[in-house]
Symmetry: C2
Subunit: 234 residues, 2 copies
């Protein structure tokens, strides 16, 4: 967790609860993580996840959303609890249990100014710097969760703009699974799921011919989930 210590009296004999956000994005074929350069002691200048103490009257999940909104200006973001980190000595300054949450955001959406103001930076997941405390562990665990979860829940769509192309989606899944997928098989599988709505528009940013845009069919997804359907995406 990364509280602004100047605002707080930390008491050594008190138990604190914090929440830290692992914020994933996707851009240019790469999975990205939003990290922050600490501007206060201790650990000034080191990279860290963004976090906050949980307030006395505040739900843990609300605290996480508050942090995310403060930083990105975004609301209605996919967010899910990862797990709690509770080693007694995880933070040398005081006793603090941190509940890590991971969020998937659409990079094109977020407010650039806002993040820069907070000293934030998008890192390629393969080029992450060392993070403070146990934050590197958190990211590793979140990545494992993302990989597993992507198999059976269409969370990938949270990382793309509302309208996206099949090649974009494939590139995202390739980044998550860290391996190349066969384009014919990927498309075939996807189409049989019935989760996409084909639009009458093309995206021409990456080819002369252009690729059709699709959007995610939330309604049908909900219906399928209710009827107990079992997904397997790519």
């Amino acid at each position: 967790m990364t509280p602004a210590l100047k605002d707080l009296y930390v008491q050594k004999d008190k138990m604190y609860v914090a929440t830290d956000c692992i914020i994933f994005g996707f851009d240019a074929g790469k999975l990205k993580l939003l990290a922050f350069k600490r501007r206060v002691e201790p650990f000034l200048g080191t990279w860290s996840l963004i976090g906050s103490f949980v307030r006395m009257e505040e739900d843990v999940s609300v605290a996480a959303k508050r942090v995310l909104t403060e930083i990105t200006g975004l609301d209605n973001v996919f967010m899910e609890q990862l797990k709690a980190y509770g080693l007694a000595d995880r933070d040398p300054g005081y006793r603090c249990v941190s509940i890590a949450q991971f969020a998937l955001i659409r990079i094109d959406d977020y407010d650039k100014e806002l993040t820069e103001k907070h000293g934030a930076h998008w890192f390629d997941l393969e080029e992450l710097p060392e993070l403070v405390l146990d934050h590197s562990q958190m990211v590793e665990d979140a990545m494992a969760r993302l990989k597993r979860k992507a198999r059976y829940q269409p969370i990938g769509f949270e990382l793309l703009p509302e309208k996206f192309t099949i090649p974009q989606l494939q590139s995202l899944y390739e980044a998550i699974y860290q391996k190349k997928l066969d384009d014919r098989n990927f498309r075939k599988k996807l189409m049989t799921l019935g989760l996409l709505i084909k639009l009458n528009e093309k995206d021409k940013s990456s080819s002369r011919r252009g690729a059709f845009l699709y959007k995610f069919d939330y309604d049908n997804y909900q219906k399928l989930v209710k009827s107990g359907y079992n997904f397997e995406i790519a």
Copy 2:
């Protein structure tokens, strides 16, 4: 969480961290949950999971193991964090975030006297009473996790005695998945995984003919995991 309140001064303006244990067992073809009758106010007489406050100098996972050992007398039990429960009003008495852990134990192992002394009772999962606070939710979430996890990790073995028969194992998986499995296909699949060691003993408790006993091949399992093998059990 279920602290012995008489031992504590609870301060309304303090944040507490607790841990609650969802303890699963398996007996007579049914999945079981270990629940406790509260002997102190508030909620005296209602059923509850067992739990404890996390001590200032204690890891969260250590606190959970401490509770489990106090109650069952068992050590070296499969235990894994489920998630943190952090609603601000989840406990009306004071602000407390609880980190739920689920444990799988071998019912024949545990110390009966010890559990009875604590007012414990094994419930069939289908006949659970209402539990205090958000504990019913915890059990539901743990059950969902168990179902999913059982597919790709051989955790089922944690619930059986060291030596077990194939029909016993099948009955366990039927209880977890809540559906009948085909005995021929179950056996076939299992054998291809190479996770079982056949013993030269039979269990005759449930048939005249007797069924061969097996034990779990931990060594080979470790090897397979390291080599990146992907399981799918039943």
